[in-house]
């Protein structure tokens, strides 16, 4: 273990950056709950420090050849040592940067979005909690520390989804998210336990090293790998457990941008890439992951094609893109997966924040209503949203183009071409549903409905009037969006330097990265034409003048219903919950509760009462009988001592 010198500024930088948000949360919850301005300042101050330290670490360590690890023993037990500390390598530095920056931008944005909300202080406390947990998870050097913060991130997610807890659906969605991710986490935890028993060490570097050198038995790797992958399924909303993420959109939109698209749900993918060599050592686990990722990507894309809710579209698209990342990693493309994670964090946060502006402005999530009320007059948001949608569809020169290209390259290198076909199909559907949404807002059917009187006057002046009205808060929301749009625009061009940083710096140069080459040009054309085809389809159905804006799917009501009801997955869960949990397990527990526990306590009470009745006969109430017994007892004692 390379321990570093204390006089080195890295330790304080890490501690400061990842510790302050927790302090901020404590301060806000204890002292400044009734002072929203101060609360937001504390929180933003803490996250600014985190950004600065993340930048500092990135600059200082970008040329480091070996991962820097610092840990102290936290729990000691017989043969097992549980360390606590940090691990800085290109992957964690990248993720730290993403988390800090997007948290910062979202917190700035929230100043405008959440202004005047009664729970303003609480909101910032939870945001700080999330930032703290997420950053500590990112730098975790061992699986156990990662797991602890993984759960804390889940807690922050639960709290923020149910932020509007007076709303029934919001609190339900929070519970659903918590329970569903917990299902996956049970598997994750079992995997960790199995790894502890079988390998005896949970250090990420050690696990990766052992898996790479083949000193771990392949059965152990496969079984524990599959179990740990359950955690990815839960957290990153992969196939069977994906329905919690769309429901999580009940939270405030900045929360959706930060947690449920850019960072938290990417935690699963991050963990996958964190112990990538470990997974890579088991072809079976990788094949399973590839299958799950593909199914997720395709299912979620179909769902996104039919919903009218702005945030739901982006939520399904997040699920689908996460599936895409899992596909990339599972096909062996370490760099491609992480690169897509990075670019996706940027453009998905952008898309959500733009949607947030529309939702804030028009007080509705329905894209048709927003389009009809003149959504396109908010010029900057719609422009930025289009940038995000182009990046999501994977068109040059936006960041999504580069990362999607990298993933498709990896898939093309895979011997089984089905995955490549699925990837291309996914790209087609992605472009279709993103531009379906864009065209709904840009070119509403029947034009923009002008409102009478005052509203009409306001509409004529367009966005300038609104900016004048909202002024400061509007710009608070627009500036982070513009920054993210700028990032989306330029990030792709850093692909090669990023690749050098991530892979060349000695993490793991995995085969399959450069597997394309000859077919690369064809692939590029195929991918871009798929995206263009998707956009064209959306244009014909939703964009062009006099388009019906129905979509070809409405001709197949059965299919529409299938997609709109999420392939009946929620019904399936409901049904199986009713049958197996409520009908089977719970009834046994109920019976146990009624018969054994209640019966036992009732029996105890009955015997106490009966015993009391019995003994009460001794209480004659006659003073002299008591006296007689007492004297008799004394006599007996005397006799005992005399004889």
């Amino acid at each position: 273990m390379a321990s570093i010198f204390l006089q080195d500024p890295i330790l304080p930088a890490v501690a400061l950056g990842t510790g302050l948000p927790f302090l901020a949360m404590a301060l806000i919850l204890i002292f400044t709950r009734h002072n929203p301005r101060l609360s937001s300042r504390i929180s933003i101050g803490a996250i600014s420090v985190a950004v600065v330290s993340a930048v500092y670490l990135l600059v200082k360590l970008h040329a480091a050849t070996a991962p820097i690890q610092y840990q102290t023993a936290w729990l000691l037990s017989d043969t097992l040592t549980v360390p606590f500390g940090y691990l800085l390598d290109p992957l964690s530095l990248t993720m730290l940067m993403i988390v800090a920056c997007i948290s910062f931008l979202v917190q700035i944005y929230s100043l405008g979005y959440m202004a005047g909300d009664p729970g303003f202080s609480r909101y910032y406390a939870f945001q700080s909690l999330f930032a703290w947990a997420m950053m500590n998870m990112v730098i975790a050097p061992s699986m156990l520390q990662l797991f602890i913060f993984w759960e804390l991130v889940g807690l922050a997610s639960y709290l923020l989804i149910g932020f509007y807890y007076e709303k029934w659906s919001a609190s339900q969605a929070g519970k659903k998210a918590f329970v569903m991710t917990r299902v996956g986490d049970v598997g994750f935890f079992l995997g960790i336990i199995l790894l502890t028993l079988g390998f005896g060490n949970l250090g990420i570097i050690d696990i990766n090293e052992a898996a790479r050198s083949g000193s771990m038995s392949s059965l152990l790797i496969t079984v524990s790998g599959l179990l740990i992958f359950c955690g990815v399924i839960g957290k990153s909303a992969q196939f069977p457990l994906l329905t919690w993420l769309p429901d999580a959109m009940e939270g405030p939109t900045p929360v959706s941008a930060l947690l449920h698209s850019a960072t938290m749900v990417a935690a699963g993918v991050y963990m996958f890439s964190r112990i990538f060599p470990f997974f890579a050592a088991s072809p079976d686990a990788m094949a399973f992951a590839l299958f799950i990722g593909t199914v997720t990507m395709l299912l979620a894309s179909t769902m996104a094609m039919v919903t009218y809710d702005l945030k739901q579209v982006w939520a399904y698209s997040t699920v689908s893109q996460l599936g895409f990342m899992v596909m990339a990693l599972a096909a062996g493309g370490y760099f491609a997966g992480v690169f897509h994670l990075t670019t996706h964090a940027g453009f998905k946060a952008l898309l959500f924040l733009c949607s947030g502006i529309f939702i804030h402005h028009y007080h509705t999530n329905d894209m048709r209503v927003i389009g009809k009320s003149g959504g396109r007059r908010l010029v900057i948001p719609i422009a930025c949203m289009t940038v995000g949608a182009l990046a999501l569809s994977g068109l040059f020169p936006f960041s999504g183009f580069f990362s999607k290209e990298a993933i498709l390259g990896v898939l093309a290198g895979h011997p089984n071409k089905i995955w490549l076909a699925a990837g291309l199909l996914g790209a087609l559907m992605t472009a279709y549903y993103s531009f379906r949404l864009i065209f709904f807002i840009l070119f509403p059917a029947g034009g923009i409905e002008e409102k009478a009187g005052h509203a009409h006057h306001e509409d004529i002046h367009g966005h300038e009037a609104h900016e004048g009205d909202h002024g400061f808060t509007f710009w608070l929301m627009v500036i982070p969006v513009m920054i993210l749009a700028g990032i989306t625009l330029v990030l792709g061009f850093f692909q090669s330097s990023f690749e050098h940083f991530l892979v060349g710096a000695g993490v793991d140069a995995h085969a399959g990265e450069g597997g394309h080459g000859a077919g690369h040009y064809v692939l590029l054309v195929a991918a871009v034409s798929m995206a263009l085809l998707g956009i064209l389809g959306a244009w014909i159905e939703f964009g062009r003048k006099g388009a019906a804006q129905q979509g070809f799917l409405s001709k197949f009501p059965r299919v529409w219903e299938l997609f709109a009801r999420r392939w009946f997955m929620d019904d399936f869960f409901r049904r199986s919950l009713d049958r197996f949990v409520y009908g089977g397990l719970t009834s046994i527990f109920t019976r146990n509760d009624r018969r054994v526990i209640d019966g036992g306590i009732d029996g105890l009470c009955f015997f106490t009462i009966a015993g009391g009745r019995l003994f009460s006969f001794l209480q004659s109430g006659m003073l002299q009988y008591n006296l007689l017994v007492m004297i008799g007892a004394v006599g007996v004692i005397i006799l005992y001592f005399l004889i």
Binding site: F617, L618, Q619, S620, G621, M622, L623, Q624, L627, L628
Partner: protein, 102 residues
Amino acid sequence: MNELSTYLIVAAILFSMGLLGLLQRRNLIGMLISIELMLNGASLNFMAFNRFLAPEPAVGQIVTLFIMGLAAAEAAIGLSIILALFRRMHSINVERAQQLRG
């Protein structure tokens, strides 16, 4: 005639009469008097042992004085309890005071 056993027998008779009275009388005043009898029996024992077995130290006499003080205090408390009971029950018969019967 002037022996230790004579005094002890008299004391035992006094004590037994007191005990019998205590157990048998239903009148609270009577019970109180019986208790005095028992205490006197005990005092007589102390005096007799002091006189015959340890003539010099006056421990037995001190204990007897102590018992007399105790008896006075007991009579005061006992009588006040009896008075309180009488105010409540209009009777000083223990058979009437059976509210604590289970």
